[in-house]
Amino acid sequence: MATSRLFTNLDQIFILLRNWLVDFLPAALRPAAGIVLGVITIVCLFPGLFALTTVFERKGLGRIQNRLGPNRVGPFGFFQPVADGIKSLTKEDIVPFSANAVVHFLAPLSLVVAVFMEFAVLPMGRNMVLVDLNAGLLFFFSMSASTELSVFMAGWSSRNKYSLLGAMRAVAQMISYEVVLLLSSVSVVMIAGSLSLPKIVDAQNSYTGIFPHWYIFTPWGLAGFVMYAIAATAETNRSPFDLPEGESELVAGYHTEYSGFKFALFFLGEYLAMFAISGLGTTLFLGGWSAPFSFLTFIPSWIWFFSKVMLSIFVFIWMRGTLPRLRQDQLMNFAWKFVLPFTLLNLFVTALWRFMGDGWMRWVVCTVILAAAYVLMGRLSMRNEHFGPRRYRYAE
């Protein structure tokens, strides 16, 4: 009895802490103070996580590429982000002479603000959501869609061909893959019957035997998750979809002309978007804060949420170290000719799953349809590709 109470308290520790702090204030101020505390937590927590992730990323990439990575500042180079932060704060803030100063200034700010807003609807543990919106998923996507305009503003206002090209690439890519991102989430909404993210987690938070009812463990959920992961990688401009900042062609893409802390803000925005989109993927397909086995439910829910998010971040880093960059035409063809049709088919399969009722029949039918479509589409699109020794047009 006492241990179960301890575990419940551990699970709700942040809520209890918040209530304890808020109780010092007069009753009229309490709701507002609770929200402010939540906002402060989000604004402090995720940049801290960002600092940690940069070290892990550089170390991990170093390991993959057979080199050491940062190892000078602090033990194992762990204080590198502190040094980087101080460096970017003290550097001169250079605005190009012909740049459009106002837009140039507003772009990184609006990007980071919109990305921070995304965290407001993510349930990071049991009862741990800043606002439980009725249309939470829609809110998330509307915020992530408004970052595209910031990227464009950054690229256009710099008055630099590399910036503009990078911004155009980024916007084209984000729009293409946003369609997939939305449609693959729609299948979850169809089954859960709600756009509210805490409700979607609740729908997955039950067990058969010891195994959870996460949506990834269904045929449509697995297909949807794979499509979501592809689209999420492209949406955050991560490798292998990092054409917008392809160093060999575009210097750094849309933030070429940014220096000092504005550059750091873009960097922060990219990583925060990664956290947010991993958090959404976790919520939609991986059961959010629920434990992977029923006998592990005593571990606090927020530990599960952040473990899953960090695992996704690890996969992002792993892919970056492993895969080569796509070409622009490959990127677009992949989005519109493979991922989008497959996601549309997945919507249909989800509807089948919903209306076939319980039983093993729907497992067989849905799996067969998806596997057949995958093989057929792969075969058809590869039919006209001829792989042979590579011929160089100008270099021979």
Binding site: A135, L138, S142, A145, S146
Partner: protein, 167 residues
């Protein structure tokens, strides 16, 4: 009608005015975005979450991007020397005033024609979804068909023309 409403209305109107008055086309497009955002906030202030977020998603996320792309791809981003104001601005003003008058008249009439609702109806996203695929399914499908046709048309316009054998 409270302070928040007037603030949001001011933002929306300033955005709209800036979109018309500014000289640089891309600045105008960005000012339009401010107006869109103000409208979305007005919807949210009226507790219409779905409409508000859809407004942000569609107008800021897609329509604004479409506008700036159109400006950049048609080389309209360069500042014209003779100024950006059309010589027939007066006609435009008259037409705009006319449209505004008709809309205002319709809105004011509707207040008198419909009985006043004192209680605010609580419309959830669930209700909107049910209405869209239930009562309003036909308009929804017609719009879907129209959009599909438009997409196919765009693809056909953008397609490479095949080399025809010369006669």
């Amino acid at each position: 009608m409270n302070a928040l409403f007037y603030l949001l209305a001011a933002i929306t109107i300033c955005g709209g005015l800036a979109a018309v008055m500014l000289k640089h086309l891309v600045h105008c497009a960005l000012a339009t975005t401010v107006a869109f955002a103000g409208l979305a906030l007005l919807y949210l202030q009226l507790d219409a979450q779905f409409a508000g977020f859809a407004q942000i998603l569609v107008y800021i996320g897609a329509v604004a991007i479409l506008i700036v792309f159109a400006i950049l791809l048609t080389r309209g981003a360069d500042l014209p020397k003779e100024g950006v104001f059309s010589s027939t601005w007066f006609v435009g003003l008259v037409i705009a005033a006319g449209v505004f008058a008709v809309l205002a008249w319709a809105v004011l009439e509707s207040v008198r024609a419909l009985p006043q609702h004192n209680a605010v109806p609580a419309v959830t996203v669930h209700d909107i979804g049910n209405a869209l695929v239930g009562r309003y399914v036909l308009p929804l499908e017609i719009v879907a068909l129209l959009l599909t046709a438009a997409t196919i048309g765009a693809v056909i316009v953008a397609m490479h023309e095949k080399e025809r054998p010369k006669p």
